[in-house]
Every structure is written in structure tokens, then in C-alpha cells.
């Protein structure tokens, strides 16, 4: 029977010749991950299963990225609990501050997540790894704990939705972030609830690997169970030197069945901005232009990769940030940080008047390092703009890609990059 890429990976890990949407399966896991917020609860639950050891210390990733470097005593205690568990269990994929990065940038970069993998993570943006052609989905701490104990998880096979992007003529500065915001604007924050979101077409092939991570990262913002893009030459090129174990490449059958297929012409998609307080409140940057800002944040597991920093630097080069705006830049990992340094991007940021941080989730979740006061307004390249997401419940977060963010930091208000650099 013909299947989608998601169905194939699920069937493969359930040891079944085929699966159909709605079917409940138990599947073997290639990776179980947690962070310093969800990990402590998962570890607490893990101890209740009556087993001493995790199912496979090489298939677990524990990433202290949310409140690290620890912002206070309570978060230090949580990080310590996870660190001690990692040592005691001899968890292979654990990184200390100075080596750690934001989980969804770090794990693909380190070759921990590979095509064809079945991954659960106690973090909703675990869906990011779908950009490598893996099945990856976010779960809670208790599901994560069960995964740690058994190496298996139960799943309901989701229906798939296919989003086909025709053409390769992107408008200037349009990136993966704009495509995914555009989709969420069309279908809403529950438009893909319980479903797999498969991205395909020439437009996706033309997108860089970094741009694909950004798209799959935000599948959860449409309620999706996973986002997925079949691995191609670009994926293979990205994995070169990173992958240290064999992997399987899956692709949807041409006659696979979808609950819905939506088609778009990439040339018709303008730069996007999502207004408070839901990622579905999208507008073109022209419509949102002129909104005054107090803070701009470039980074996170959505847009903290090298390509994002290059785009931002391209706009900031030789320019100064608006005197009334704070620009905070969070590279996703140490490797990205160092690469940015080698390429001279950090110099550009510092010259422009930005603060560049060590990799951390920081303000993305209103954790630390850039919290908003009452009434303040930020534009961020992050993925959520819920009430209070970056600080005070009466603050506001707007979402965009890195080009709009950098241009807006220069102008002090939401701006199209052409307002800063001409028709680039």
C-alpha cells in the first residue's frame, strides 16, 4: 500500500509492513530527549518505573539550555539534578555550559538526529528534526520518562497534510520563516492539530537546510504532531561529517493519501510578521510596518542558525541600531557562535550596538536575559508570541524572520529590509 513518509517511518519502527491514520502503534525510539525544564520531572517519573538504567545511554540526549547559564538558585538546582542523572546514567549526549547549545540547533549539528529516525522529546519543538526526514514529536515529561525506561512509545498514526510550494522565485529576503508563518496564518494555530505536516515542492528543494529546520520547527504552532521534509542532496551535504551511524532515507509514495493538500506559489509570499498574541495573526511586513519597538531578539531554535546570523549581519553591516532599541542576538550553538566570529559577523553586531549572548533559550520563553517590562514591545525571530511569552503579561511580542528583525532594529520600528538597504 502506498504511504506517506511519516507513515513509513512509523511502520518501520513499529515493525509493521504498513500503518494507516488512526491506528495505535508501539514504536521503537532512536532518541529520547529532555531539557533542564522538562528533564527534572521526567527523571522524577523515571524513578517510579522500577528500572535502574535508561534503555540505552547512547540514545538519550539531555540538554541544559532553557535557564542556563543558571539564572538563579532554583534553576541551578534543576540543572544539577539533570547533570547528576546524566553522569550516573552515563548519558552520551549531555553537554555542559560552554559546549551546550539550544537543543534543536545542537542535536542536528552534532549528528545526533538523522533521517529516518523516530524521536520523542520533552519539548514541543522536537518537531524541528523532521527537516532531516525524521519523525520527531514533542511529548510531556511522563511520556519522556516512559521512553527513557522502555525505549518505546505509543503513537496514534496521524493523518498527513501536504503543503506544496511551487516555483523558486522567492521575493527578496523571504525565508523558511516566512513560508511557515504564511501557512500558519492561513490554517490557524490548530489548523494541523494531531496531523503530520509534510512540506514539499520546488520551493522546499530550493530552501537551505537551515530554512527547512525553521519550517519544521514551527509545525507545532499550527498544532501539528510533526513537520517533515524528505531528505535530499542538501540534507546529505549537511550531514556530511556529522552523521556517525547509518541512516535510512524515506520518501512519500507518489500516490500516498493525504487528509488535505495545499499548494502555494512562492513568488506570491511576502515577508511575514505575526502580531500578538498568536502566531496565526500574520500580516505582510508592509501591513505591520511602523510599529515602534523596544527590543529585537534574533536567535532561538527557530532562527538562531548561521544563515540567520548572516542575513542579519548583511543588513546591520556598517549601520547602527536605533538609539531607543535593544538588539539581543543568541547564536543557537557554540559552533554557530564560533563560525559567526570567524566570518566577522560578531564584529558587525557589536559595531551596530547589539548584545551578543552565549547560546541559551533566554528571552524566547521569557526565562532570562532580555525580559520585557509592562507595556514593552519586542520583535523576535522566535516562534511564539503568546501573552507574557517574553515577560510581563502586558508586554507584546511580534514574530518575523531575521531580515525584518535586523532592519527593524535599525529603524526602531517594524520595517521592510528595503527601507534600510534598498532593494538588496
Amino acid at each position: 500500500m502506498s504511504m506517506t513518509i511519516t507513515e513509513k517511518i512509523l511502520a518501520d519502527h513499529a515493525g509493521l509492513p504498513e500503518v494507516v491514520p488512526g491506528q495505535l502503534i508501539t514504536a521503537k525510539l532512536d532518541l529520547v530527549l529532555a531539557n533542564d525544564v522538562t528533564g527534572p520531572i521526567a527523571i522524577r517519573e523515571f524513578t517510579k518505573f522500577g528500572v535502574d538504567k535508561v534503555f540505552d545511554a547512547g540514545k538519550v540526549a539531555l540538554v541544559p539550555d532553557h535557564f542556563t547559564p543558571n539564572k538563579d538558585i532554583a534553576s541551578a538546582e534543576q540543572a544539577k539534578l539533570m547533570r547528576e542523572f546524566a553522569r550516573e546514567q552515563q548519558i552520551e549526549h549531555y553537554w555542559e555550559i560552554g559546549r551546550v547549545g539550544i537543543e534543536h540547533c545542537l542535536l542536528p549539528e552534532q549528528g545526533v538526529t538523522l533521517p529516518g529516525d523516530m524521536i520523542i522529546g520533552a519539548d514541543s519543538h522536537t518537531c524541528t528534526y523532521g527537516a532531516l526526514g525524521a519523525f520527531a514529536t514533542g511529548v510531556g515529561s511522563t511520556d519522556c520518562a516512559a521512553g527513557l525506561a522502555t525505549g518505546e512509545g505509543w503513537f496514534k498514526v496521524p493523518e498527513s497534510m501536504k503543503f506544496v510550494f511551487h516555483g523558486t522565485k522567492f521575493q527578496p529576503w523571504v525565508s523558511g520563516k516566512d513560508l511557515i508563518l504564511y501557512i500558519i496564518g492561513k490554517i490557524g494555530v490548530d489548523g494541523a492539530r494531531y496531523r503530520a505536516m509534510e512540506f514539499a515542492g520546488e520551493g522546499i528543494s530550493a530552501l537551505s537546510q537551515d530554512g527547512r529546520f525553521t519550517m519544521c520547527n514551527m509545525a507545532i504552532e499550527a498544532g501539528g504532531k510533526n513537520g517533515i521534509i524528505a531528505a535530499d542532496e542538501k540534507t546529505e551535504a549537511y550531514l556530511k561529517g556529522r552523521a556517525h551511524r547509518p541512516y535510512k532515507v524515506f520518501a512519500s509514495d507518489p500516490d500516498a493519501r493525504y487528509a488535505e493538500i495545499m499548494e502555494f506559489e512562492v513568488s506570491e509570499i511576502p515577508l511575514q510578521v505575526a502580531l500578538p498574541h498568536l502566531p496565526e495573526n500574520t500580516e505582510s511586513v508592509e501591513e505591520a510596518a511602523g510599529i515602534k519597538l523596544d527590543q529585537v531578539v534574533i536567535g532561538s531554535c527557530t532562527n538562531g542558525r548561521i544563515e540567520d546570523l548572516r542575513v542579519a549581519a548583511g543588513i546591520l553591516r556598517g549601520r547602527k541600531i536605533h538609539p531607543e532599541v535593544r538588539l539581543l542576538i543568541f547564536p543557537g550553538t557554540q559552533e554557530i557562535y564560533r563560525q559567526a566570529m570567524h566570518e566577522g559577523l560578531l564584529d558587525i553586531f557589536l559595531e551596530a550596538g547589539a548584545a551578543v549572548s552565549t547560546p541559551t533559550c533566554g528571552p524566547c520563553l521569557g526565562g532570562h536575559m532580555g525580559i520585557l517590562a509592562k507595556g514593552e514591545r519586542a520583535l523576535a525571530t522566535t516562534n511564539r508570541n503568546f501573552v507574557g511569552r517574553m515577560g510581563h503579561p502586558e508586554s507584546e511580542v511580534y514574530l518575523s524572520g531575521p531580515a525584518v528583525a535586523a532592519a527593524s532594529a535599525v529603524r526602531g520600528e517594524i520595517s521592510h529590509p528595503r527601507e534600510v538597504v534598498g532593494n538588496g
Binding site: K48, G50, S124, T126, G140, G367
Partner: protein
């Protein structure tokens, strides 16, 4: 029987328990800040046995289990909504917080109504307005999981028999 606390659509996990409190994970601590950014009167006012009524996509956003833990520890007996976000749905059942999907009840219950919920049968009664509703039944697997008392005892049982 308890009082209904009513919320709108797309109530996200950041509103249920803001990230600024996620540097700790004790359920009582989380409960003290539950729903703070949506209704500051919730945490101080909620009583054991009360019910949360939400619109569509309740619990969207992050995977933080702190969200259902906070609701459960605040004494809420059940969450009734038009629909739930996937991870929240799973988390709530895993930790033993009854949640019922019932668009009619979500529409037919107002803030402050006295409500009676029977999670096992899915029967929801609005005592104040003398109406009753039937929630969608749980899938069989979920029923087994709930009968076992949540995911931990369910998996522990399976590990023992393996």
C-alpha cells in the same frame, strides 16, 4: 460538584503556567501561579472540585507537563473544552487529570455555573442550568491507561510482565 471557570479559545501553556515559574517543578508551587496571566483571580479563588471550561485548542503551545500538573494541583477536577491540543491531551491523561472534549458543554456552561463531571462515563451536568452533555468517549487505549491510574503504573505493569 464544583464551580466552572471559563476561558476562551487557544488557551496556551504559557498562560496556564508562565515560563517564569518553570525554574521549579513542585506541583503546589505551580498551582499557586496557575492561569495567572489569563485570570489573576483563578489561583487564589479556585476550590477543590472546580472545573475549567475552555474553547478550542486548549493547552496549545509548549510540551510542559507543568501545565496539567498546575491545574491538577490547584484542585480542579476536570477540564472540559471544545478541543484540546495534542501534547496537552496526552500529558493530562498521563498524569491523571481528567479532560473531556465536548463542544456542546463548552458552549453551554458559563463562568460560575455549578457543574458535575463524571470522567469515566463522560457525563457533564450543568446543575445551575439543568442541562447535561455527553463528552466524546476516550479511545480504548486511553481507557486502559486511565484504568491503570496513568502512564507510570501502566508502563510499570508492562515492564513487570515483559
Amino acid at each position: 460538584m464544583g464551580k466552572a471557570w471559563k476561558f476562551g479559545h487557544d488557551i496556551d501553556t504559557d498562560v496556564i503556567i508562565p515560563a517564569r515559574y518553570l525554574n521549579r517543578s513542585e506541583p503546589e508551587y505551580l498551582a499557586a501561579h496557575c492561569m495567572e496571566d489569563a485570570d489573576a483571580g483563578f489561583a487564589p479563588g479556585v476550590k477543590s472540585g472546580d472545573v475549567i471550561v475552555g474553547g478550542k485548542n486548549f493547552g496549545c503551545g509548549s510540551s510542559r507537563e507543568h501545565a496539567p500538573l498546575a491545574i491538577k494541583a490547584s484542585g480542579v477536577k476536570a477540564v472540559v473544552a471544545e478541543s484540546f491540543a495534542r501534547i496537552f491531551y496526552r500529558n493530562a491523561l498521563n498524569i491523571g487529570l481528567p479532560i473531556l472534549e465536548c463542544p456542546e458543554a463548552a458552549a453551554g456552561i458559563e463562568a460560575g455555573d455549578e457543574v458535575e463531571v463524571e470522567p469515566a462515563s463522560g457525563k457533564i451536568t450543568n446543575v445551575t442550568r439543568k442541562t447535561s452533555f455527553q463528552a466524546m468517549p476516550f479511545p480504548v487505549f486511553m481507557q486502559e491507561l486511565m484504568a491503570a491510574g496513568g502512564l507510570v503504573p501502566y508502563v510499570r505493569g508492562r515492564l513487570k510482565n515483559a
